[in-house]
Symmetry: C3
Amino acid sequence: MKQFLDLEDIQNVPNLIEKAIALKTNPFAHKELGNNKSIGLLFFNSSLRTRLSTQKAAQNLGMDVMIMNLNSDGWGLEFEDGSVMNANTAEHIKEAAAVISQYVDIIALRAFPSLTDKKKDEEEQIIKSFQKYASVPVVNMESATAHPLQALTDAITITEFKQKNRPKVVLTWAPHPRALPHAVPNSFAKMMQMIAVDFVITHPKGYELNPEITKNTPIIYNQEEALKGADFVYAKNWSSYNDYGQIKSTDENWMVTKSKLQTAKFMHCLPVRRNVIVADEVLDSNQSLVIQQANNRTYAAQAVLKEILENR
Amino acid sequence: MKQFLDLEDIQNVPNLIEKAIALKTNPFAHKELGNNKSIGLLFFNSSLRTRLSTQKAAQNLGMDVMIMNLNSDGWGLEFEDGSVMNANTAEHIKEAAAVISQYVDIIALRAFPSLTDKKKDEEEQIIKSFQKYASVPVVNMESATAHPLQALTDAITITEFKQKNRPKVVLTWAPHPRALPHAVPNSFAKMMQMIAVDFVITHPKGYELNPEITKNTPIIYNQEEALKGADFVYAKNWSSYNDYGQIKSTDENWMVTKSKLQTAKFMHCLPVRRNVIVADEVLDSNQSLVIQQANNRTYAAQAVLKEILENR
Amino acid sequence: MKQFLDLEDIQNVPNLIEKAIALKTNPFAHKELGNNKSIGLLFFNSSLRTRLSTQKAAQNLGMDVMIMNLNSDGWGLEFEDGSVMNANTAEHIKEAAAVISQYVDIIALRAFPSLTDKKKDEEEQIIKSFQKYASVPVVNMESATAHPLQALTDAITITEFKQKNRPKVVLTWAPHPRALPHAVPNSFAKMMQMIAVDFVITHPKGYELNPEITKNTPIIYNQEEALKGADFVYAKNWSSYNDYGQIKSTDENWMVTKSKLQTAKFMHCLPVRRNVIVADEVLDSNQSLVIQQANNRTYAAQAVLKEILENR
């Protein structure tokens, strides 16, 4: 693997899932691989799971980890080509990415979307600029439109917990007081088309995701109907894609409850708002896989970093 | 040791003090103990000594250290059971503690009190919640009502510098422009009842600490009388406990001076406001032990972390 | 080397340059040197290159790295002797420096000038106070008036890229929307007097640097004339020294362009404002050495840290 900007960078998804599961049983077996190698974790936004799990993954591989909160520790970055930088930005991404590449062997990056400028968000300017100007591999720790490490984690979790060859997986929208990005549902929808599952999406009208991503995934507007016979229910809020970044509904009836879940396993990427996205009774039951998912974040990241280190 | 929430978690105080003193002569002797282990240092509040000394202690034991400033790096945490999380908090402690436990082998935590809600502060909601929901040992790096690592440090320092079997130790209140927590005096008072010292407390009326902690420790309202014959004078400001969090006095006469100190050694947990808590002449003399105390923070933390690692 | 406050702490400049260049070919050859040693990187101001490169340099030498953003992570520091600390500062530098010295083997420090109080800035209170009260070596990661690690980097870069024994080096002022410190031009000017180059400075009238630093370096107010026959052009903005901290000119004609540069190599310490300090056509050409300079930051820091570790 030369980089990990999105799921398309994985050559063989089932193979990488198996490698990640193998790493769980012996996480320190490849510590020589990262010897004298370092990774820079660059955050434009808050992070808990991604920050700690990627740091852990790198340390498991013997790497040194350097962390920067770019908004507070560094300088305002300019991303526009040819701009006359006489205003608020002090450093151009051309220099920043090339310079950071001098100090680390891998750059991992988190940068959320604006949710106000659809075109700009879809251009993925920040992560694409780092890819363009960095001389080392770039890893996506959640960008404007994609969260491929989370989706890999989710595929690992489904693989571990599935009890039939082709389980039914339902991605359901759930209410949330704030406008949230599409990165997680996008990457989850993409991943579900790459592994052996029956996948459906359910959400209120007006919450259709980018059809170039969902492709011919069935979209069922009736949540009850969609959840029938589900083996895994993945809840997530997202804002409207068509009416970009808007909240179209906060309908509490879409919250996931025990009775809706039936015997299905419950999944969420976290952080999750209790009794808004999902009822306590679900999260506090053994049907919830959210902690196991969080644990798999380490091995998803470690599998990706290992592939990248091996490729160099 | 299974955890270190408070001094009661120490099985044998004199024994742990001796172990800490032994670590000073050979701090790197147990580096294999922390191999492939990591500690998460989680800060809700500022820290200099605790941050650096705990990091140093963990590194001395060969551990990897992950640091998070929870207020800025992560997500707003919810601590109430059953709450409908449709407001400012994005993640419940149930998930946060369980998730962080997936990435680290020990969680160390700093969270100051509100000083406005006595009941809530005394419930120690933050550290107790982490203890309840974490699946790894939790270490107190100063909570609302206790700072046991500091108290262990202080006991180490007194043990090193005492020149008689049973020295007289005086904890004296001193003025400060801001309302400060009770964590340090609480833990110091508790610790002085666990080791072989004659211990008295002196402060202006209205500054009585929690009597469940001071128990039958003599409280002398006349500072001069209290300091007579002292071998160690420990100065510290705290706000009123009875009139919770209030400043009842800023009487400059309570500042510790050279003449008050006589031949006693001076101690303070730091940071200390010069010429408010204590005069320059004291801090700049060789009667001051504040730097030696700060150094002992490393070995107090290292002794605790070592016990926890050995217990796993 | 006992400390690295400024270039005068280097015993033999050409020798240290050669050592730094040698480290580039085998950066991990001295990993045992920093074993069980730690460095504290203390930041009062933003940093990208310095932060990452010094961290990298220390890790290359096998050291543990502890980073503190002093303004946000720690306590407000007091620098005045004898002050009654009843206002905003919570900890005196006397304690802070002595305490941090208990936890690390080297203290590295970044603290920018006020640009409002010339006398105070020139006293270098922060770094001098750390030097005075720390019991471990102090390294300057850019202080009010000096950036010696950058100047060492620049000398390494000129040594690597020079094509004649005595190249002509021009330091040219360039416009910038904000008032910037003198640390970089000061240290560069000082360094150019320590190695075998023909050195001239060009800037608009009113931008004369401290004559105690520039000494008898030719100052040419006509940029075109100054640049004639240059082998290396080092661009940098700084505010007025005489009219301290003021912006006297933002004349766009001083921006470095391809035609002005002719065949010279272009240097800048970064971050650089594109199309303000220098045109895109320069930075995007192979005449620019800015990325190589940034890379040399690691080896400048590593050479200095190695000397300090070897001296202990």
